[in-house]
């Protein structure tokens, strides 16, 4: 047992490759047999990953899901920001410039629209729950933008620790829902071409959510959605503690 543990921990990234490979194999098997391919195998794999992350988090009390389990620590490296960004950039290989240009303006508009709309929705819900302090309303609104914009904004304008934690939770809910929900609603919102994928990426903005959601819908759309989504958090961090906070301060 001890030997096994030593080997697993010492080769954690390799263990992760094997575990993820087996998970994907099971997911595609389930997708083909249980759902006759109606649900994408990668959608099932991502859902299994999230489920495992929940149990990992509950069992260890850590903040990186299943990666806090010592034997599976390699999942943290494999699914971390560095590898994610590397693979996302690789998906741009073979993308034609003309496709990008076609949705250029709509893509840029969608980034700003996405940040502002998510912020308004989040802030409105904070007000509904009885928050009256502009810094707190702004922070929760910013959390609905992404779980990075929430704390960045909250710390910049001096919100309390609890409100910042809430904003992170709101952002996490958003990111997870985009992962699971995108393949389900794709047909109804016309998400089947590079242009709408760029608009989608700009509106949703959560890089993890968009990356996983599009992978489970149609991997060909990934580079287009990811391209706009990566600007979203930056724009959110720009607008949150400045213009959006000033507007909220003026209202409350």
């Amino acid at each position: 047992m001890e030997i096994l543990e030593t080997v697993f921990v010492r080769n954690n990234l390799i263990v992760a490759f094997a575990v993820v490979g087996v998970t994907i194999w099971i997911s595609y098997f389930l997708a083909n047999t249980l759902t006759q391919g109606r649900i994408h195998g990668s959608a099932i794999a991502i859902a299994l990953g999230l489920l495992a992350a929940y149990f990992g988090g509950v069992a260890t009390g850590g903040s990186t899901g299943v990666a806090d389990v010592a034997l599976l620590s390699g999942i943290g490296l494999m699914g971390g920001g560095m590898m994610r960004d590397f693979a996302i950039v690789a998906t741009a290989f073979g993308v034609h410039l003309s496709e990008l240009k076609k949705a250029g303006v709509a893509g840029v508009v969608s980034i700003f629209a996405g940040v502002i709309v998510s912020f308004i929705v989040g802030a409105a819900i904070a007000v509904m729950f009885g928050y009256t302090d502009p810094a707190e309303i702004t922070t929760i609104g910013a959390g609905a933008v992404t779980y990075i914009v929430g704390p960045v904004t909250g710390e910049a304008i001096g919100a309390s620790g609890e409100v910042i934690t809430l904003s992170v939770a709101a952002g996490l809910v958003k990111s997870i829902l985009v992962m699971i929900g995108t393949p389900l609603v794709a047909r109804f919102i016309g998400l089947d071409n590079p242009q709408s994928a760029m608009v989608f990426g700009g509106l949703m903005g959560t890089t993890s959510g968009v990356a996983a959601g599009l992978a489970a819908t149609d991997p060909k759309l990934v580079p287009y959605g990811a391209m706009t989504a990566t600007f979203y958090t930056g724009v959110g961090c720009l607008l949150g503690p400045s213009i959006l906070f000033f507007i909220v301060s003026g209202m409350f």
Binding site: V20, I24, S42, I46, L48, G49, A53, G57, S63, G65, V66, A67, I75, G76, M78, G79, G80, D85, F86, A87, I88, V89, A90, T91, A92, F93, V95, L100, V105, G107, G114, V117, V121, G122, I125, F129, G143, V152, L166, V168, A170, V173, K174, S175, G181, I189, Q195, S196, V199, L203, M204, A211, A212, A215, P219, A226, T228, G234, G236, C237
Partner: protein, 128 residues
């Protein structure tokens, strides 16, 4: 050589990240502004350009395609390391704020997608 493609991919990512980080400093925000997106643009330019042919064709191209194909497994690992427990613990406010933001954003996708298509429709009408 496979590693040429991998190196090109790496250089694109690092260059994009440096620019994204510099943009963040310039705009005085504590975030990388579009680093990955800029890196993707570099790779798109390189793969559409004659000059970089030796780095993007044949075995070199396979080095990039490998990482592109590893994308879904990496995303599955990414899902498995999310702080799902914290999201569940966030309570009603966090849940409602997150869900409402997603629902409204989903609804806006078809609206803004039309914005991108509108000029194309007009062009085809003119040709007629």
């Amino acid at each position: 050589m496979i590693v040429y493609g991998v190196a090109l991919l790496s250089v694109c990512l690092i260059a994009g990240m440096v620019i994204g980080e510099a943009l963040g400093v310039l705009l005085q925000v504590e975030a990388n502004v579009g680093g990955v997106g800029i890196a993707m643009l570099f790779l798109v330019f390189a793969s559409n350009s004659e000059k970089f042919k030796t780095l993007t064709e044949g075995a070199s191209g396979d080095g990039i395609k490998f990482w592109s194909a590893m994308y879904i497994p990496i995303v599955v690992a990414m899902a498995a390391r999310q702080n799902v427990a914290a999201a569940v613990d966030g309570g009603m406010l966090a849940l409602l704020a997150g869900v409402a933001a997603v629902v409204v954003s989903f609804a806006l996708v078809p609206v803004l997608s039309k914005l991108g298509k509108a000029p194309v429709v007009r062009e085809t009408e003119e040709i007629k």
